[in-house]
């Protein structure tokens, strides 16, 4: 059965790609959200860990909260970052799971994948990898992950149920979903929900 969504998922995906392609290639541009180190400070990330990262690993960070605030990852865990962007949360995850753990970032944007791979190489991280893919169809086998993280991505999916079902598929039984996202306290009018430009505004 096809899910009813307020906007066309493909059109929304193209809009999201356009916006975040800019963030990847021009991290110091003017956006409606904070980015980089000031944002990491605002969201309560461990200052020492962020300070130790090279600029390339931090400057395109555009999350909305801290997915590690309710649960710290455990050493040795296998982690998937859904919509990994420039890789910032993958690098935090790599620090927490240690060299015996593995972190896999999945993102649909080539520009973000290039940036995250370059940053991982600069940091010498052997336990982090990145793959091109969509949240709704992740290139990961069933039950691979001990934990799935995400930051500011699921709100940009037209079909959230499908996104969560895919996360369920890649998690092992007993695995954790720990994600950060935005939520509104006042209802958004139907007309705005159907306006694709407002999803990323």
């Amino acid at each position: 059965m096809k899910a009813e969504t307020p906007v066309d998922p493909r059109a929304l995906r193209e809009e999201v790609k356009s916006k975040y392609r800019d963030v990847a290639t021009n991290p110091r541009g003017e956006y409606h959200f904070h980015t980089g180190r000031p944002l990491a400070r605002r969201l309560g990330y461990e200052q020492g860990v962020v300070d130790a990262m090279p600029e390339r690993a931090v400057e395109s960070f555009a999350g909305v909260a801290n997915p590690f605030s309710l649960r710290r990852l455990e050493a040795g865990e296998r982690v998937i970052d859904v919509g990994s962007g420039a890789g910032f949360d993958c690098f935090i995850a790599a620090h927490q799971v240690g060299p015996q753990g593995r972190v896999l970032g999945v993102d649909m944007l080539q520009e973000m994948l290039e940036r995250s791979r370059a940053a991982a190489a600069e940091m010498g991280l052997a336990n982090v990898a990145f793959r091109e893919g969509l949240i709704e169809e992740m290139p990961v086998e069933d039950g691979w992950a001990d934990a799935v993280i995400s930051n500011g991505v699921i709100n940009l999916c037209a079909d959230k149920r499908r996104a969560f079902q895919e996360i369920w598929r890649v998690l092992r039984p007993g695995g954790w979903l720990q994600f950060a996202d935005i939520a509104n306290g006042k209802p958004v009018p139907e007309s705005a929900l159907r306006n694709i430009d407002l999803w990323t505004a």
Partner: protein, 44 residues
């Protein structure tokens, strides 16, 4: 939705003023948009 899919032990963290002092602050205030951390577990 998380519970409908089968996730358990669902928790929501305190709100974070994600858009404060950013370009999107006005629109965020209009609809009381904040950032949150969520935690849930797939049962064994």
């Amino acid at each position: 939705m998380l519970a409908e899919i089968g996730f358990v032990d669902i928790r929501v963290g305190p709100k974070v003023d994600t858009f404060g002092e950013a370009g999107g602050e006005k629109k965020a205030r209009q609809f009381e948009v904040f950032g949150y951390s969520f935690l849930a577990r797939k049962p064994r």
